[in-house]
Amino acid sequence: MNAPALARPLLALVAASLAAAALLAWATAGQQRRDAAYQRVRAEHQAARVRLEEARRNLDLYRRHLDDFRRLEARGFIGPEARLRWVELLQGFAAERRLPRLEYDIGPQAPAAPPGLDMPEGLALNVSELRVRAGLVHEGDAFALWRLLREQAPGLASVARCRLERVGDGPPRPGRALVDLDCLFEMYTVQWTGS
């Protein structure tokens, strides 16, 4: 009795395996190519999404802060100091109020580092001391001086120290000092130093 022949089935199996391997290799290569393209597109898509989100966040930031920024810019908080404007304001104030005397002394500008306040990167906060000594006709002149510097002087004006002393009696009269004033103002400005 002849044993069942195995040669032809084995040959067929080898041929089928080779053909299958070739087919699978071709299909795998195609799939890998498409997968790589998909991963590339997905990465680009993700990057675009990140860019858009950043742009939207920036837009939102701008919308929230732009008005305040413009106000600060107009007020002179951003940029170099405008000392001349300070002097003009003080001279105008003394003349308008008919003060018997008003002296000012502006110190050199220095970097400011208020405690507990983190300074944003790329920004430099500076401060200059402005000392004002004046004879006031009325106590209300002190309030007017503080308001004037705070609202009209370029930069952010802050009263750091102040002395008010009564030096005369009687009704207020232009040119006659009833109150002696000695105040120290801190004039803050900020400058962009780069990223």
Partner: protein, 521 residues
């Protein structure tokens, strides 16, 4: 798809039957005698048959069975024991088998069986080998009965199966819990009405033997399954009624065949088709005997079939796999296209957003931080002495005897800055946090000098007026701390007090105090 053909050989010892059918239906039964004509006809039939192994069912008188009790062993010991038992009982027999039929604890009952006249079978096996279609296996009909019992509903307890032997006579096989313990052939033509008396005698004889061997308890009722044609059973039924020791169950052969998934359209020997049906099912039982030649051939044949199946399956699987990969790739392409479209939408939205951004010359984050910084500075240093002075003025208006002379105001982060007033002591933790910048205080502080010019000659009223003024101030500025630095008259017994009683105006009534507010940033 063409219906699958089914073929089965049945050897009775004197002749060979070839049952053929299709799709579960037995269509023909050819008989071949054990003579030259029979062999040549068989060879011709083999040449025309499909080229695959044929199952061979044996319903032989010359098949011996021995039931022996043996210890229960495992592995190689078990195989060696079985080999020894077969050698002892069937020394010269080439086709012998051993199977476990019953187990009780560490003992088991082995059914040894062998073909005692395999020379009669040899020419048929040789013919099969010569045709290149060896037997797919040899199945013993009484042993195969074990597989028939589930269809009869007799898997538990003792059962006696009575059927007609293909070569003539009656086969009586006794099973316990579905396992064969005894089988014998009786010289009768079959379970017919004419043979009822003989049948009952043979069953009774078998029963007595079983009782003698303790295989069956005499007090029990035995279920007897008679498998025969429907007309034979109908005539036999009345004659079997009234037997109280045996419960006869008359099994119509055709009905049984249907239960096994087959049909019969051929006049084959009675009972044979039911057994034959068991061997053409998709998963037939293992052969009871298998000659070494057939075993080798079958192994090679199965290997060949497996290789052929693999050769057929591999391309199919490869096509399926490749198709799956191709589909996956197409899906990825589609997803890529969708992502590209979405990306284009995102880019357009991005361009719109960028166009809306006004160029202020600074990065957007810096703008936000700068505004935040300005707000923080404004919050810290925006307030000056106005609030404090307004409050003081309001209190002074309510106390006409008091007049302010001098105010020194300052703003500071330093808890130690003082005008001579008591500075509250910091605890260690607070001092440490202040030093590290984790805690920041902001102080608004003023030293105020005042006087009561009209009360110089009335020290008591002057003291009371000053005290009322200070109390009023403390009540009006609840969040401020007020501390007196100097009183109009220092009444401390440890200090010195001097003045001119007749010129009170020469020593004006003056006092000073500190007012302070602390804020934690």
């Amino acid at each position: 798809m063409p219906a699958r053909e089914q073929h089965l050989l049945c050897f009775t010892g004197r002749e060979l039957y070839w049952l053929a059918g299709k799709a579960g239906t037995w269509l023909s039964a050819r008989r071949f005698g054990a003579d030259a004509d029979g062999f040549s006809a068989f060879a011709a039939a083999l040449a025309a048959a499909p080229p695959r192994p044929l199952p061979l069912l044996l319903d032989l008188l010359e098949e011996d069975f021995e039931l022996v009790e043996a210890p229960r062993l495992f592995g190689a010991d078990r195989r060696a024991l079985h080999r020894r038992l077969l050698q002892r009982h069937f020394r010269e027999r080439a086709l012998a088998a051993c199977s476990v039929q019953r187990r009780r604890g560490d003992r088991e009952w082995l059914l040894l069986s062998a073909l005692t006249h395999d020379e009669a079978l040899a020419p048929w096996l040789d013919a099969l080998r010569a045709a290149g279609r060896p037997a797919a296996g040899l199945w013993s009909l009484p042993r195969l009965g074990e597989k028939l019992l589930p269809a009869l509903g007799a898997t538990r307890g003792p059962a006696l199966l009575v059927s007609r032997q293909a070569g003539g006579g009656l086969r009586l096989s006794f099973y316990d819990d579905g396992r064969l313990l005894l089988t014998r052939l009786a010289p009768a033509r079959g379970p017919t009405a004419e043979q009822a008396e003989t049948l009952q005698e043979e069953i009774g004889r078998t029963l007595r033997y079983l009782e003698t061997q303790n295989y069956f308890d005499a007090d029990r009722v035995l279920d007897v399954y008679l498998v025969a044609a429907a007309n034979s059973l109908a005539a036999l039924a009345p004659q079997l009624a009234g037997d109280t020791r045996k419960r006869y169950r008359l099994v119509d052969e055709d009905g049984l065949l249907v239960r096994l998934g087959g049909r019969r359209r051929v006049d084959a020997p009675e009972g044979l088709c039911a057994f034959a049906q068991l061997l053409v099912r998709p998963l037939p039982p293992r052969p009871h005997y298998l000659p070494e030649t057939e075993s080798r051939w079958l192994r090679r044949h199965r290997l060949r079939r497996a290789v052929q199946a693999a050769a057929a399956a591999v391309p199919v699987l490869a096509v399926l796999g490749a198709g799956s990969l191709w589909l996956d790739g197409r899906l990825l392409e589609r997803r890529s296209a969708e992502l590209r479209a979405e990306q284009a939408r995102i880019e357009a939205a991005y361009r719109r957003a960028v166009a809306d951004l006004e160029d202020v010359g600074l990065p957007v984050e810096t703008v936000g931080r700068l505004v935040e910084l300005a707000r923080a500075l404004e919050d810290r240093y925006g307030a000056g002495p106005e609030a404090m002075l307004r409050t003081l003025s309001q209190i002074v208006e309510r106390h006409p005897a008091i007049r302010l002379r001098r105010i020194d105001w300052l703003r500071s982060h330093d808890p130690g800055s003082a005008f001579g007033e008591t500075v509250p002591q910091l605890d260690r933790r607070e001092a440490r946090r202040l030093a590290r910048g984790r805690l920041v205080y902001l102080f608004h502080k003023a030293r105020v000098e005042a006087e009561a010019p009209g009360l110089a000659d009335r020290p008591r009223q002057a003291m009371e007026a000053v005290q009322r003024f200070l109390d009023d101030l403390a009540a009006a500025a609840a969040d401020w701390r007020v501390e007196t630095l100097s009183a109009p008259f220092d009444l401390d017994p440890a200090s010195r007090l001097a003045g001119r009683a007749l010129d009170p105006g020469s020593a004006p009534v003056r006092f000073s105090f500190v007012i302070e507010r602390r804020r934690t940033l």
